[in-house]
C-alpha cells in the first residue's frame, strides 16, 4: 500500500465514508472506547501535563540534534554487527531491501505492522521480485487477505470492518468454516501464521523508537507477532522513519509509556521488545543478519520549517480518536494511510499539496487533537498554517469551507458541532471572541459567523464533557437535546 490510497476525488471519498453507516458506528464506538481508556490511563498516572512537557522536550531536543543522534545510532548498530542503510527516497529504501532479500534467495517474508513500510509501498516492490509478503498483525492480515483493503486507522487498521465481514473474507480466501466470533477468527489467523513464521526467510519490522546510545530499537505490540518476526527468520530488516529515535534508554522508557497510554490506554502493552544488533554468537534464536534502513522520504524538507514540530509525532493516534471530522467521515476519506489530524498535517507535507490540498480543510480547527497529543504538537495551528500556505499559492481555498462542512454532514444548520468543538479547547477560540460572542471564527466557524454570531464557549473542559457524556452512556453523535444541559 503506498501512502496514497485510491484515485477518487476528496468529495467522493467523503461521501462514501458518510454513507457507510457500519463504518461510522464503528469509528464512533472506537473513539469513545479508546478515548475513555486513554483518559482513565492518564488520570491514573497523574501529572499528565508534566509528562506531555517531558515528551515534548525530548522530541524537540532530538529533532534539533537529529544528525548527531542518527550518526551515533548508526555507529552503534554497526558496532553490534548490524548494517545500516540511509535512504533519501522510498525508491532507494525499496531497492536496498530488494537487494538484501534477493541476495538471500528469499521466497517468503513475514512482516509486523509498520506505517513507514506502507508509506514507501514496500510490499508491492517485494512482490514484484516474486517474494511472498505476509502481514502478521491481525488487523493488517485481515486487510491483506481481503485483496489489500486499505487501512482506516493508524492503530486499528481494520476498524471499518465488522466481524461478519471478516468471517466472509476468511471463508472465501482461507477456507475458514467457523463462526464470526472474534476469538475463533483470531485463532484461525494464529494457526495460519504460525507456519509462516517458521518457514519465512526474512522478517521485516518497523521501529517505534531507536535508541542512539546503544544502537537498539523498540517494537511495541499486544499480539506478540513482532517477537516471532524477529526471532525466527534468519534475516531481519527494520525500517524506520529517520525521526523516530531517542538519546538513551531513559527517554525510550518515557515515550513508550506515553505511546501506549495515548494509543490504547494501556500502561504497557503485552510486548515491548528492545533489540540490539543481530543474535549474539552462540544464540539459537534471533536473526543472524540484521539491516536497519533509515528513511527520509520527504521528512528532511519539513525540518527547519514552521511545520517541524509534526516530526515530534510518535504515531499514537490519540488525535485521530479525538477528531470530530474523522468521527464523521472515517479513515478512508483522507486518501492517505495517515488519517485524522496527523494525516491532515503530514500527508500534504510528505505527498505534496497537489494530492492533499483538501485535507487541511478536513478539520473544524477545534483543537481537540492538539489537546490530546502526548508530545504537544500544535496540530490545529499547523492545519491553519497549511490553509494559509494553500491560499497563498492558489489564490483561493481549494474547497469552500461552508460546502465542506455540509459535505461532512456537519452543516451550519445546527450549532451542535460548533459547541462540541468549542468545549474541547476554549482557549483555542479566545482570539476570536469578543464579549462572549464569536465574531470571526476560524475554519468552519467562519462560515457560520458570516451569517450569525455564536455564544462564546464556556470553560467546561473536554475531560469533564467527555465524562458527562460517558455517564449518559451514548456512543453516537451528541444530539442537541441530550447534551444541552452540559453547555
Amino acid at each position: 500500500m503506498p501512502m496514497k490510497i485510491g484515485n477518487e476525488r476528496f468529495g467522493e471519498r467523503v461521501e462514501k465514508g458518510i454513507n457507510n453507516s457500519f463504518m461510522r458506528g464503528a469509528v464512533a464506538g472506537a473513539q469513545d472506547n479508546i478515548g475513555a481508556r486513554r483518559l482513565n490511563a492518564i488520570e491514573e498516572l497523574g501529572n499528565w501535563e508534566e509528562w506531555r512537557s517531558h515528551g515534548e522536550e525530548i522530541r524537540q531536543h532530538v529533532l534539533e540534534h537529529l544528525d548527531y543522534y542518527l550518526e551515533q545510532l548508526s555507529d552503534n548498530v554497526a558496532k553490534r554487527g548490524g548494517n545500516v542503510f540511509f535512504a533519501e527516497t522510498a525508491e532507494e529504501a525499496n531497492e536496498y531491501i530488494k537487494e538484501v532479500v534477493q541476495s538471500k534467495n528469499a521466497q517468503k517474508v513475514v512482516k509486523s505492522k509498520s506505517m513507514v513500510t506502507e508509506e514507501i509501498n514496500l510490499n508491492a516492490s517485494l512482490e514484484e521480485v516474486g517474494c511472498q509478503v505476509i502481514e502478521t498483525d491481525l488487523g493488517e492480515y485481515i486487510l491483506q487477505v481481503d485483496d489489500h483493503d486499505p487501512p482506516s486507522h493508524i492503530v486499528a487498521p481494520a476498524l471499518h470492518k465488522n466481524k461478519e465481514q471478516v468471517r466472509d473474507v476468511f471463508t472465501k480466501k482461507l477456507g475458514y468454516k467457523k463462526s464470526a466470533d472474534p476469538t475463533e477468527l483470531a485463532w484461525h489467523a494464529r494457526e495460519m501464521l504460525r507456519q509462516d513464521y517458521l518457514t519465512a526467510d526474512v522478517g521485516i519490522t518497523g521501529c517505534n523508537f531507536a535508541v542512539a546510545e546503544t544502537g537498539s530499537f523498540a517494537l511495541v505490540t499486544n499480539e506478540g507477532n513482532a517477537d516471532l518476526v524477529t526471532s525466527l527468520p534468519k534475516t531481519q530488516i527494520t525500517v524506520m522513519g529517520m525521526e523516530r529515535l531517542v538519546p538513551t534508554f531513559e527517554e525510550l522508557e518515557v515515550l513508550v509509556s506515553m505511546l501506549t497510554r495515548s494509543a490504547v490506554g494501556q500502561k504497557l502493552p503485552s510486548y515491548v521488545t528492545v533489540l540490539t544488533g543481530p543474535r549474539e554468537e552462540l544464540d539459537v534464536d534471533g536473526p543472524e543478519d540484521f539491516h536497519l534502513v533509515i528513511v527520509d522520504n520527504g521528512r528532511s524538507k519539513i525540518l527547519g520549517t514552521e511545520f517541524q514540530s509534526v516530526l515530534q509525532c510518535i504515531r499514537c493516534a490519540a488525535c485521530v480518536n479525538a477528531c470530530p471530522v474523522y468521527r464523521h467521515v472515517g479513515g478512508h476519506s483522507y486518501g492517505s494511510i495517515y488519517s485524522g489530524p496527523i494525516g491532515a498535517v503530514l500527508s500534504p507535507l510528505l505527498g505534496g499539496y497537489e494530492d492533499y490540498k483538501e485535507l487541511p480543510y478536513a478539520s473544524t480547527l477545534c483543537g481537540a487533537c492538539s489537546e490530546v497529543c502526548p508530545v504537544k504538537i500544535p496540530l490545529h495551528e499547523l492545519l491553519h498554517k497549511h490553509r494559509q500556505v494553500i491560499v497563498e499559492k492558489e489564490g483561493k481555498a481549494p474547497v469552500s469551507e461552508k460546502l465542506l462542512m455540509k459535505a461532512f454532514g456537519l452543516g451550519a444548520a445546527s450549532p451542535t458541532l460548533y459547541k462540541w468543538g468549542s468545549k474541547i479547547a476554549p482557549t483555542a477560540m479566545n482570539p476570536f471572541t469578543s464579549e462572549d460572542k464569536i465574531t470571526k471564527g476560524p475554519g468552519p466557524l467562519k462560515a457560520w459567523t458570516e451569517v450569525r454570531d455564536f455564544p462564546a464557549p464556556n470553560k467546561e473542559r473536554f475531560r469533564d464533557w467527555f465524562k458527562n457524556r460517558e455517564k449518559g452512556g451514548g456512543t453516537s453523535w451528541p444530539e442537541p437535546s441530550k447534551t444541552e444541559k452540559h453547555f
Partner: protein, 239 residues
C-alpha cells in the same frame, strides 16, 4: 564483525543543512530535562506495596499470580504446571533453577509424572525451537519486574532462548521478589548503567505483560493471538 554503513554523509549533511547549521561534530550532552514525572510514580513504595500493585494489575491483564517461598517453590511450580495441563515443558538453562532446588522436579519428579521436559541447549540449535513450538508451557526468569504494569523483563543469551517466552501455549515466569521495581523507569536506568559500565546489552530484551492479545476485530479483546494463551507469575520471596 562491524556492519556496513551506507549513504550516511550526504543524508546527514542534508539534515544539518535543513536545520540551518553545520553538522554537529562534538558530542551532544544529554540535557538536564526540565520535567521528570516518571520518578514520582510509586515513589517510596515498599517491596510489599509493589507486590500488591503488581498483583492488582495482573488481574486486569488476565495473568495469575502465586506467592511462594524459596522452600515451597518446587511444589508451587509443579502445581502451576499441572494446572496448565502438564508437559511438554521447556525452560531456559539457568543456574538459578538448581539454586532454588528445582533440578529434582525438572528431572526425576516430572519423569515420574510423565511430563516431558526440555532444557534449552545452544549446542543443538533447531531442536530447541522445534521443541518450544510444540511445548505446552515455557518457564523463564524475570530479571526486573515492573509493578505498575505487571511486566516481567527477559534478557536473551545463548542459554536464554527468546522463543521460550513466545512459542509455547502458556508460560510461567519466575519472579524473585527482589526483582520488583516501581516501573519501567528503574529497569531502563539499570539497563543503561549496564551499557555504560561496558557490559554489552543482550540482543533481545523482552518486556512482557501477560498473555498475548488483540482487539483488531471490532475492538473485542481476544486473548492468545501469536504468543501464549495464558500466563502465570510465581513471586518468590527471596528477601
Amino acid at each position: 564483525m562491524a556492519g556496513a554503513i551506507q549513504n550516511r554523509e550526504a543524508f546527514l549533511n542534508n539534515i544539518a543543512n535543513n536545520l540551518g547549521r553545520d553538522r554537529l561534530t562534538t558530542p551532544v550532552n544529554r540535557p538536564t530535562w526540565k520535567h521528570n514525572p516518571q520518578d514520582e510514580v510509586l515513589k517510596g513504595a515498599s517491596q510489599d506495596d509493589l507486590v500488591q500493585v503488581l498483583t492488582d494489575h495482573c488481574e486486569k491483564i488476565h495473568t495469575t499470580v502465586i506467592n511462594t517461598t524459596k522452600s515451597n517453590l518446587g511444589s508451587t511450580l509443579n502445581g502451576a504446571v499441572q494446572n496448565y495441563g502438564g508437559g511438554p515443558v521447556v525452560t531456559w538453562k539457568d543456574d538459578r533453577f538448581a539454586e532454588w532446588g528445582l533440578k529434582e522436579l525438572f528431572t526425576n519428579e516430572w519423569a515420574k509424572q510423565e511430563i516431558d521436559y526440555h532444557e534449552w541447549d545452544f549446542n543443538s540449535a533447531s531442536t530447541n525451537i522445534n521443541y518450544a513450538e510444540k511445548a505446552n508451557i515455557g518457564i523463564t526468569i524475570s530479571e526486573y519486574t515492573l509493578a505498575e504494569s505487571a511486566t516481567v523483563v527477559m534478557l536473551s543469551s545463548k542459554d536464554h532462548g527468546r522463543t521460550v517466552n513466545f512459542l509455547p501455549k502458556t508460560y510461567i515466569a519466575l519472579v524473585p521478589k527482589s526483582s520488583i521495581v516501581p516501573r519501567m523507569t528503574q529497569a531502563a536506568k539499570k539497563l543503561r548503567e549496564r551499557h555504560l559500565n561496558g557490559k554489552s546489552l543482550p540482543a533481545c530484551i523482552n518486556f512482557i505483560s501477560g498473555p498475548s492479545n488483540s482487539a483488531d476485530i471490532e475492538l473485542q479483546l481476544v486473548v492468545g493471538v501469536h504468543g501464549p494463551f495464558k500466563a502465570t507469575y510465581i513471586i518468590i520471596d527471596d528477601l
